[in-house]
Structure formats: C-alpha cells, structure tokens
C-alpha cells in the first residue's frame, strides 16, 4: 500500500509539515501581539507618579499603584513563609523517604492540589482565615497563595534531589555523617540551584494570581502595612482598573500589567542565569 502513489504520499508529507510549521507561526502571533501591545501601552502609561503615589479618589486623573506593588510584596512574603518550607520539606520527604506506598499517595495528592482551581483555594482561605478573623486581610491572601506554592515547589524539589547521585549520599554516610546532616549539607546543597529555580518559578506563578485574592485581601486604595488589614495587590488593582469606566484607570491598568510582567520575567531570567552559570552550585 505504501509503495503506490508516491506523489500523493509526498504531497501529504509536504502538507502536514507545512501545517505543523504553520501552527508554530500561528501560536507565536498572540505571543508577539500580547507582549508588543503590553510594552507599547505600558511604556506610554508609565510615569514616576505611578510608582510612587497611591490611587487618587475615584474618577480623578493621576495617582499610582505604589501601595499595590508593596502590598503584593507583603502578600508574596507571607505566602513564601508558608509555601517554601512546606514545599521543600515535602520534596525532601518524597525524595529521601517516599519510596513506599505512602510516598505515592503524597505525590498524587500534590498533583491533585496543583490542579485545584485557584478560585477554589480562595474560597477555602476565605472560610479558614477571613471567617475566623471576621475581616479581610493580607494574611488570608498569603495563606491562599502559600497553599498554591506547596505542590509546585515540592514536586520540583523532589525531582532535583533525585538527580543528586546516590554515591554522594553514600560517601557522606561512609564518613559517619548522620542522615539529617547529609540531607541538609550534602544533598540539598548540591541541588540548591534547582531548588531555588523551583521556588522562583512558583513565585512567578502565584505573583500574577488574582482570583484567590479577590475575597481574601479584598484590595485597598491606601497604604497598609498591617497584615491583618485589607491590602492592595497589583493583579487585583489591574483587574479593578481594567473593568472601570475611566480612561485614566485603563492607562494605569496597562502600566500595572507592564510592571507585573517585568517583575515576573526578571525573577525568571535571574533563575535562568543563575542556574546556567552555576552561581548557586554548592557541592556538585
């Protein structure tokens, strides 16, 4: 069957190869369109006030998102206090002790948690923290984002630790170093570049999350440094401004979007550079 009609087969070949190439080009279109338009609109809208001032009253021109940028930082800090140790701990458990049935259960649960929609995690953080505290707070948002970081960090930490050669551990044990010391000073250190990458990636992933913050941190038009109060967050502010009827707020939404994507891309490219140059490499 394959022998017959060579022209047809070759035509089919060219067609499918063309389609695959075409698909790649089509996918690059939105990428270029989004980044292009974001930079075009964002740079035009960005000014010093945007980075240093807090929002003006509704409808007035001017003001900025300084409080939202700082608020996002605070929320992310709380999130990483929760997510990073738990994520790395789970990863260590899975890599070093998790070869039995229980390990598979944890791995599977982490994957399930990774797939839970962020808005559902927002509801849970709301009913755990907001309902208990009886008010919205930066803490509640931090809890929501922290929960989201755990599965991302734990699965990559496990992968990184499994790549550390077994002989390294055995060498440490052979010297009479205890298991916990080996894990902390030898295994984790050798894998540190990979683990830092995982942490930064999870950071970049949750930094742009809006849905879980909508009814946990709620947003705020003023400065707030108290983690028990409503706090502004960059993605939340972009969302509010984009949906508003004011042109000046639309402009600020674009500026905020540009800042957000720049922060995310900087953290990702720092990771890339550090990982490729081996800055964080400990033992390996």
């Amino acid at each position: 069957m394959i022998q017959s009609k060579y022209w047809w087969r070759s035509l089919q070949d060219k067609l499918m190869v063309g389609l695959a190439t075409g698909a790649t080009l089509v996918v690059l279109v939105p990428l270029v369109a989004i980044f292009g338009y974001l930079i075009y609109k964002g740079i035009g809208s960005l000014d010093w006030n945007f980075l240093t001032k807090i929002p003006k009253p509704v409808g007035e021109v001017g003001g900025g998102m300084a409080n939202a940028i700082v608020g996002s930082g605070v929320i992310l800090f709380i999130a990483s206090l929760i997510g990073v140790p738990m994520g790395i701990g789970t990863g260590v458990y899975l890599a070093e002790f998790g070869k039995k049935r229980f390990g598979y259960l944890v791995r599977f649960t982490a994957d399930v948690l990774n797939g839970v929609p962020s808005i559902v995690i927002g509801i849970v953080a709301w009913s755990l923290v907001v309902v208990t505290q009886k008010h919205h707070s930066a803490l509640a948002g931090g809890v929501a984002l922290g929960i989201m970081m755990v599965p991302i960090i734990s699965r990559s930490t496990e992968e990184m630790l499994l790549m550390v050669p077994q002989s390294l551990r055995e060498a440490a044990w052979g010297l009479g170093i205890s298991q916990w010391r080996t894990t902390l000073s030898i295994t984790l250190r050798s894998a540190s570049s990979g683990i830092i990458t995982a942490v930064m990636l999870s950071f970049a992933r949750v930094a742009g999350e809006t849905a879980p913050l909508m009814f946990t941190t709620l947003g705020n038009q003023f400065w707030n440094f108290n983690i028990n109060h409503e706090t502004a967050a960059l993605p939340l502010q972009i969302y509010t401004y984009a949906n508003s009827p004011y042109d000046d707020w639309h402009r600020q939404a674009w500026a905020g979007a540009l800042i957000l994507i720049i922060l995310i891309l900087i953290s990702m490219s720092l990771v890339r550079m550090a990982a490729s140059r081996g800055v964080f490499k400990g033992g390996n």
């Binding site: 690059l28 990428l31 701990g89 948690l113 808005i119 755990l128 734990s154 709620l218 969302y239």
Partner: protein
C-alpha cells in the same frame, strides 16, 4: 535505603553471650559506642518526622479543602438538593439558585478552547521535536513557555482592549456572513462572548498542552523512528506511525490536563465572557462560568443561602477538575513510567 546504608555501621554485632536485638527493631538503642550516636539517631528521627509532617500537611490541605467546601455549602445542598445542578434560575433576590447555565458555560468555553488549542499544540510539538533545526528548538520551546508566564489578568486586559474589538469589527461579521447557517454564529455581535472566552482560554492552555505533548513525543525511543524511516516512510508517515501513534496516550493525557486548566481558569474568562447566566447555542452570545460567578459575586453575597450556593458552585468546580486531573495524571503517568522502564531496561 536508610536501613541498608546505616544498618551495618550502627548496629552492634550480635554477640553470642549477649541478648542480640531482634532484626525487626533496627532502631533499638545502641549503648556500645559513643553517646554521639544516640543523639544523631534522635536527630535523624526528628528530621524524618519533620519532613513527614510537611508531607502530611499536603494531605491535610486537600482534606481541608474538601471539608470546607462541603461544610460551607451544606445550607444550599440541603435547600436545593440535586435540583441545583439542573435548574436555570439564578435569582439572589428571591433566593432561588440553579447552576446549569454556569456548568454549561464552563464546559462550552473549555471545549471551544480545546478545539482551537489541540491541533495547534500538536503541530507546535511536532515541529519542535521532529522537524525544526536543532538550533531553533530551544528558542521555540522558550517562546511557547513564555506564554505560560503571562498572568491571567493580563490575558484578560489584552482580551478586553485588543481581542474583543477585533472580534467585534472583523471576525464576528465574517463568521456571521459565511457560517451563519450553522446557527453557531447568530445574534448580536458584542465581542464579549463565549467565542472570546474560548479563544483566550485556547491561548492560555497551548503552553501546557504543547510542553507535555513534546515531552511524551521525545520519550518515544529513537529506534521507533529509525525503523519506520528504514522501510521508506516519508517524514510525515514516520511522525504519524512512529511517533504520534506511540505517544497517543500521553497526548490524550496532555489534552485532558489542558482541559483541567481551562475549566478552572477564572479572571481572563470573567473579563471576556460577558457574565450573563444563559444557555445559548450561539457562540456570539455572552455566557457565564462556574469560576466567574464565584469571582464576581462571592464578596458581595449577603445572607446565608447566597454565599452557600456560591460555595456549592465551588464544590462542583472542584469535583469536575479533580476528576479531569486524575484521569489526565493516570494517562501521563502510564506513558512516562513505561518509558522510564524502557530506558532502564
């Protein structure tokens, strides 16, 4: 591993005249040598339990999610029962709630996203793994992954100010004129529609479907490709018979994982779908999804029944994505585990 490695080092040699510790209890106290061992053994156990606590916390979080969703939705579940999922009324004022339009909107927008994203993703994965020059490969995967770093809210913003006007001015009139007879493209042309939501979701799930498809395609052994090429196949026949056919379970898994992402996506969809609880055949009509209604109404929901109904919607969303993710996970596992075995064998 721990037992194997530490065992010979720490366990005292059983002496004929003393009572040897039974082999079932390797952690029995060792009085023979320095006190250091005792403390390091204690530290080892403590470390182990600390890590175990972290792992348990992952289980605890998921249990907590299920518990909170079930508890907070109990009022709505008892008031409406299963009727909640088949009725169309959504009236917070009179306290009558039905989730059908949201379920329809979620399923429809995700399905539309899959129809648009899957052929493109498989095309990109095929191009990057099989066709493109090696030099381009890294760059292309980096670019596609760049799409995954864009936050949902920025997709929404771009959708509102770029995609929607384009749809309204060019795409919708075109589709209505030439494909209006299908009935899918009728009605008013607002721009904010099921179609807009589907397109933005497609762009958002392309990176994940592409990267997993690429992974499973690269997991297909090289010998498969060479064997097909050796009997005189063209490139496309090699890809179809040698690669895609072998990777189909994994690709199916990638698609379902993408579906899971699309079902739970909130902000971008909320900004584009038009937020109208209705069931309409036309893709130009606005709709509403499970995630969007929570995002829009949860913080303003007053009384007891209204928030409870929204949490029940959250529960439904959780269960749907859970099911989809488990199926996808099993499919991806089955193929990557198989290839790992092949690699070690």
């Amino acid at each position: 591993m721990l037992k194997q490695m530490n065992g010979p080092l720490l366990k005292p040699k059983p002496q004929p005249d003393s009572v040897a510790p039974s082999p079932e209890e390797p952690s029995a106290p060792v009085p023979r040598r320095k006190i250091e061992h005792k403390s390091s053994r204690f530290a080892d156990a403590a470390f182990r339990y600390l890590m175990l606590a972290c792992a348990l916390s992952v289980l605890a979080i998921v249990v907590l999610i299920v518990r909170e969703l079930i508890l907070s939705s109990s009022l709505a579940r008892h008031t409406f029962g299963l009727k909640f999922f088949v009725t169309q009324v959504w009236d917070p004022v009179s306290g009558d709630f039905g989730a059908l339009p949201f379920i329809y909107g979620t399923l429809m927008s995700s399905l539309l996203a899959l129809i648009l994203a899957v052929p493109l993703s498989i095309g990109v994965a095929t191009f990057t793994t099989e066709l493109c020059p090696l030099r381009l490969r890294g760059l292309l995967s980096y670019l596609v992954e760049l799409l995954a770093t864009i936050p949902s809210v920025i997709y929404g913003l771009w959708g509102m100010y770029v995609l929607v006007p384009i749809l309204r001015q060019y795409v919708q009139p075109f589709l209505a004129k030439y494909f209006g007879w299908t009935g899918l493209f009728g009605g008013y042309q607002f721009g904010y529609s099921m179609l807009a939501a589907g397109i933005i979701l497609a762009i958002m799930i392309i990176p994940i479907v592409t990267s997993i498809t690429r992974e499973v395609m690269s997991a297909v052994p090289k010998a498969q490709r060479e064997a097909v090429l050796a009997i005189g196949a063209t490139r496309w026949e090699m890809i179809r018979v040698g690669v895609l056919r072998n990777a189909r379970t994994g690709i199916m898994g990638a698609i379902i994982l993408g579906l899971g992402r699309a079902l739970g996506e909130t902000i971008a969809v909320t900004m584009l779908i038009g937020n109208t609880p209705q069931i309409s055949k036309s893709l130009f009509a606005p709709g509403y999804t499970l995630a969007s209604v929570i995002a829009n109404e949860f913080s303003e929901a007053t009384g007891d029944l209204y928030p409870s109904a929204l949490v029940e919607i959250g529960l439904a969303l959780f269960l749907i994505t859970l099911l989809v993710n488990i199926v996808a996970q099993l499919m991806v596992w089955s193929i990557t585990r198989g290839s790992a075995q092949r690699a070690t064998a």
